[in-house]
Symmetry: C3
Subunit: 172 residues, 3 copies
């Protein structure tokens, strides 16, 4: 059986131009390494905040590279350049509104401006696409809020089985 | 005055083919019998997970059979055959996003995969349509989360008055 | 630098016909006076529950009168005459779903029928438009739930800086 592939798509004008190193993609990867058991492989890309580039990258990861999950980071705010949710909605067959709702509901408890995040999640065929904000702290908080449900969504949509790591053992 | 009618629409490929008995529709009915006072009558149907069949059943219940409330159960998940939310949105004039949000927010506290439910609610004329998941446990939890508000929505939309049962008396 | 302008748009058939005094607009204004520091000016209007009138008033306030924030009150419920969310969505370039979600999530804790409110928020260029229900009590509760995030949204969208008042000093 093929090893499950997960796309990590950083959406950032400045990181895509090399003006600073991408810290968001690696934060997503670190979270996945901690929480997934079994074998999986990551495909990582950085694109600018351009709808066409984001849509093309999502389609490439979902269709040609057979990712079962694509996590985007960045481009979800109210700034006019933030277009990740629009690009995601455009390439998905159906949206899963509860994922964005839950990420916002959990984040807003510690960060009032989390209500401004427009992140969405949806399915393109059997590939689940989930938007996250760009800040490493928000990445962890948002993924934490919904991660336990993602393998089930992928399985129902016809994708491969992703195995969650067991919770860390408590010291005796 | 006419007796208020409530449609209960089970959406399930297997129940519609008789492969197993419908347990979801009866769970909705049991909840309504517990929580509604006064007279009302139920119209119950089971249809397959097909958009056209769901849309036709909703329109029939709302328009020809003058239901003031139609509760659907099933077909709200991320599986490709799950199309109840799409069918509901297509036949409604306006959606009430807070109802789905609230059902998910309450359910997710006990079931992490509740974020995957795509259920919606909306009005078709003066008929309120509310989607529920298919599992009897989720039915009760979701209806519980929003039921107190439904009679008010129906009344504002021009429908009949539905009377909520008084809460059970506490033992002395 | 120009003084920031805030539009307050009361949407009410009866208030627009003078059948009763508008209490909603003044409640919004009182909240803003309490919570904003620095200079700002209010533009207040009352329109009927008509989509065209609401859309025209929003466009006028955002485009010609250069409001950085327009707060509407009224017309967000399930009644067939309630069309403020539709009018708002029609004139905005992008919606901020987290604002409506948060207002409902907070309100429902004290008022079960808050799940019926369909209020939305969005950006028209650099002008943030936020719908509120009509009841003065709900106005305060809903604004309270999201107000801390609004200046950040306006700034990210390219609008002027709105300054939040310091929290009141506690007595010694």
């Amino acid at each position: 059986m093929a090893i499950p592939r997960i796309g990590i798509l950083t959406v950032s004008d400045r990181a895509s131009r090399g003006e600073y190193p991408d810290r968001s993609g690696p934060a997503v990867r670190a979270f996945l390494m901690e929480r997934l058991a079994g074998r999986w492989e990551a495909l990582e890309r950085v694109v600018a905040d351009e709808r066409e580039a984001i849509e093309a990258a999502l389609a490439e990861m979902a269709d040609r590279q057979s990712c079962c999950l694509v996590i985007t980071t960045g481009g979800t705010g109210p700034h006019p350049r933030d277009v990740t949710p629009e690009a995601t909605a455009a390439v998905c067959d159906r949206l899963l509104p509860g994922i964005g709702e839950r990420m916002r509901a959990v984040s807003v408890e510690s960060v009032p401006t989390a209500v401004l995040s427009r992140q969405v999640a949806g399915l393109r065929g059997s590939c689940l696409v989930v938007n996250l904000p760009g800040s490493p702290r928000a990445i962890r908080q948002c993924l934490d809020a919904v991660f336990a449900a993602l393998p089930h969504a992928i399985e129902l949509a016809g994708g491969p089985e992703l195995e969650l790591a067991s919770p860390p053992e408590l010291p005796h």
